[in-house]
Amino acid sequence: MSGFTPLSRKQIAARIAQDIPEGWYVNLGIGIPTLIADAIPEGREVILHSENGILGFGPAPDPDKIDPWLINAGKQHVTLRPGGSFFHHADSFAIIRGGHLDLCVLGAFEVSANGDLANWATSAQDSAPAVGGAMDLAVGTKRVWVATEHTTRDGKPKLVESCAYPLTAQGVVGRIYTNLAVIDVTEGRFVVREMVPGLSREDLQKQTGARLMFEEMEYA
């Protein structure tokens, strides 16, 4: 393994931002997905949804312009863009669960080759994990993309044959953006679309817990 540079978290976010077209309504989870907001190209109108009742929120305010009533689901102070709106929690999740969001981008502990997502409970023994809106987003949104490091800190694969962590939802993930590759989940298989320059297919496979398909790569 040499000759390649994994993407930083910010670079993963920027890579994802490239693929979000103008006009999409998008919910961004905590972690890398949050960074996507600032990476959307200037002038491209993408409308961000927050579980706590906002459509069209914008970046953090200047410190002297913080409005305590205006936070996103990550409890960060945000602003509202022109064309934004507020609504209550049942309406907010009607938007999510009714299939109205074009996309949510979520973090993951594990994703399986059939698109199962595990991103809420850190172990089967954990009896008080915080689910928040993760299951609603995973099940309700038109497209679920995952943004994650390719492996855990101790090098274990996060892309696996079958999830060991408790599931968030079954068969929902459509695409995975890691620090090493862009991988589609198609018909129960991981199909590699893109890799960081200099990384070999063998190296990527070694860091992945399920068989990778390379036939349909867009960039060699």
Partner: protein
């Protein structure tokens, strides 16, 4: 003349009974009716079931209520978070029951109670451990879980402005669970940042019509609010 304003919190919460189910609005600290929670602690009812998005953090609000031993069970979507030490200690000591509900299912179960719907089906939790023991059913080839309405004896709500008939508007993301819980309490008590003269709330913009509200206590907020964002409370 209809006037739902009460002079103090003790009057509003005086008759909360042991064993009650209490909804508490807010998301994070935004829209959380802090003064009413303090009032509930002072009032002293025990054996409470709390329905809220989270299980408190730090040593104030819900955490203080739990630390004082007033809570038997909590129904929430986000129990463990930064600073939720009170919850964690009580829960691991077996002194607190917990029901984890996905945030959307929580909101919808609360709305269902307010709308006279005893149960509904949702795709959320299907195939996960949160669906264990729950009834599932197929509609048009997809599997759904049945969820029951969540009622409360008392809903504690924060609103931005109210009038004497109990009509409420909220402020920005302060609307959150407040506007839904207001529908689901047998009794709904509002902590209002300010009372306005009847007729001052635009009828097109009222979010919670007074029919859902039983009592209003005015508690001006001390939060710093940028004047360009709507003026001080």
């Amino acid at each position: 003349m209809i006037d739902k304003e009460v002079r103090n919190i003790a009057e509003a919460l005086g008759d909360v009974r042991d064993g009650s189910t209490i909804m508490v609005g807010g998301f994070g600290s935004v829209g959380q009716p802090d003064a009413l929670i303090e009032g509930l602690i002072a009032q002293g009812a025990r054996d409470l079931t709390i329905i809220a998005n989270n299980a408190g953090s730090g040593m104030t609000g819900l955490a203080k209520l739990m630390a004082a031993g007033h809570v038997r069970k909590i129904i929430c979507s986000f129990p463990r978070s930064a600073g939720s030490t009170v919850f964690e200690e009580l829960f691991s000591a077996g002194k607190l029951e917990l029901e984890i509900v996905p945030q959307g299912t929580l909101a919808e179960r609360i709305r269902a109670a307010g709308a006279g719907i005893p149960a509904f089906y949702t795709a959320t939790t299907v195939g996960t451990r949160l669906a264990e023991g729950k009834e599932t059913r197929e509609f048009s080839g997809r599997t759904y879980v049945m969820e029951r309405a969540l009622h409360a004896d008392v809903a504690l709500i924060e609103a931005w402005r109210t009038d004497r008939m109990g009509n409420c508007i909220y402020r920005e993301s302060g609307r959150n669970f407040n506007a839904v819980m207001a529908m689901a309490g047998d009794r709904t008590v509002v902590q209002s940042c300010g009372m306005v003269t009847l007729g001052m709330l635009d009828p097109e913009t009222v979010v919670t019509p007074g029919i859902f509200v039983d009592q209003v206590v005015v508690v001006p907020t001390h939060a710093q609010i940028n004047e360009t964002a709507g003026g001080m409370c």
